[in-house]
Amino acid sequence: MPALRTEFCGLTLEHPIVNGSGTFDAIAARRAFGDALLEDFPFAAYVSKTVTLEPRQGNAPPRLWELPAGLINSIGLPNRGLEGYLEHDLPRLAELPVPLIVNVMGFTREEVATLVEAFTAREEVAAIELNVSCPNVKTGLLMGAEPAEVSGLLDLVRPLTRKPLIVKLTPNATNPAAVAQAAQDAGADAVSLINTLRGMALRPGSSEPWLGGRTGGVSGAGVRGVALALLDSVAQRVSVPIIAMGGVQSGADAAALLGAGARLVAVGTESFRDPMAGRRVAGELEERAEKGQLSAILTPASRKIPA
């Protein structure tokens, strides 16, 4: 899709559509769909599910609650941990036909540093996304909600890597734009947004929480308006490229986020409804581009591609 080719932190991507971390397990999808997946991969880069230092089982089920035009998940970041990821997941993900972005989370800054160092050493990894939607167990503060937490984290990890560092912002904060600014000032190469909104559901007819994790994160079509507002506020504060997401279902939704200042757009929950949603959204964007409907918002300059 030459009309959609986009530069992102030194990577040249075929189109601006990637997946949201944790919403598309390419290894599992290959088990379900076979190698056809590799021949027609839906995303221009692949973002892997959050990796933590130690393995995690994730939260007790139930883990899902359907909302009007949305979903609450309390998955709880199950993953094999750093070692398991390096041994089991990384070789398989390296077979994908697109660049790999690894998403990491730590419960202390030092844990994040360990993860960043480990992935810096791996050439299969094109970029690292920092999931800061968790409390720093040392300060008790939500890492992604406080500018100072993010600065402190980047002061530690920025010197450890020359790979692009992307900070993923949480919407559960008073001032995400200030957090984005802090990330940029402390050397982040990009920011991504939005992670899920805090949400909860009760077991019908009771006052007991439905989700094993008590609360969870809201995503899907219903959060689209919230995502756009946060993108708008962040785009006014930072100059680094932005990966925007939240409720994208169509080329029209992606075009709106690109128009509001995103460099890339991630598709999350919509992949659950349509496993090839990423490809479809990219195709719908391409149609718009061909009709000239994107020219005002998606210029070669905005994609950092020589025309």
Partner: protein, 275 residues
């Protein structure tokens, strides 16, 4: 088309979802059967499932749902046709919408997903135990195993027991005694198991029934394969939402199930299962 992986228990799904039309709709008591014309139809393995959503107006029902597609076992995918059949009951906004679909209307279909049943390892007798809509995956399995695969089916009452008509042959039990044995289908199972012949049990139904089957088979050291349910958002391993606890930790039911060996489970009472 039908690439078979993971032994003979998984047929790979065509990439993505596809738009198919309903060719027939009929009902059996409170149950609805729809036939879909699925051209790209790879032959699914009994026990596998699909994710379904109406192509139009998936949403706007009770509580402004559904939004996500719904998991349904296939009932049958008759060889030589491009058809796949589903069997379900209206229990909420998703199945309510699906049950409205008439011939000519369209669906989004993805699948087949998951792994189906494995044949009795010793070539012994197969005992199929179903409860309510849980009989769906057993029909195709009975077709394949042949009629000596005995089916024991439990329903609430005679009206629900009309659903048994989708199976080739079966012994019935109803909670209220209005059809067949008055009592639980697991009572029929106990009688069969205590009859002595070696058997492998294949069961699908409500959590309490599955748990009774699990305990019963475990006590008698009878191998059992249970087709479980859990809430699913995607069906292809993307969301990690459908896990059930096994002896080896949580497993994604859409990827490593929905058919699990009873011996893997500590309980079949999976929290938040369909209904």
């Amino acid at each position: 088309m039908s690439a078979v992986a993971e032994g003979s228990r998984r047929t790979l799904a065509p990439l993505g979802r596809r738009r198919v039309s309903v060719t027939r709709r009929c009902s059996y008591g409170p149950y609805v059967v729809i036939h879909c014309h699925d051209e790209s139809a790879p032959a699914p393995r009994p026990g596998q499932f699909y994710m379904l959503a109406s192509a139009e107006r998936w949403g706007g029902g009770e509580g402004e749902r559904p939004y996500l597609p719904r998991a349904l076992s296939f009932l049958r995918a008759p060889a030589g046709t491009d058809e796949v059949h589903f069997f379900f009951e209206d229990v909420g906004p998703g199945t309510a919408r699906l049950s409205e679909l008439e011939a000519g209307e369209e669906l989004w279909l993805a699948g087949p997903f998951g792994v189906g049943f494995a044949p009795p390892s010793d070539g012994g007798r197969a005992l199929l135990v179903g409860g309510g809509v849980g009989i769906a995956p057993l029909a195709a399995w009975q077709d394949e195993l042949g009629l000596d695969a005995d089916a024991l089916l439990g329903f609430r009452d005679a009206q629900h027991a009309e659903g048994a008509a989708v199976m080739a042959a079966a012994q019935l039990a109803t909670d209220d005694g209005s059809a067949g044995h008055h009592g639980l289908v697991t009572e029929l199972l106990a009688a069969e198991l205590d009859g002595g012949e070696e058997a492998t049990v294949y069961a699908c139904g409500p959590p309490r029934m599955l748990e009774a089957v699990r305990v019963m088979c475990s006590e008698r050291a009878v191998p059992a394969q249970l087709a479980l349910e859990s809430g699913m958002a995607c069906g292809f391993g993307a969301c990690f939402g459908c896990v059930v606890a096994t002896r080896e930790g949580y497993k994604r039911l859409c990827l490593d199930g929905p058919v699990l060996d009873a011996a893997e489970l500590l309980t079949a009472l999976t929290p938040g299962a369909g209904h």
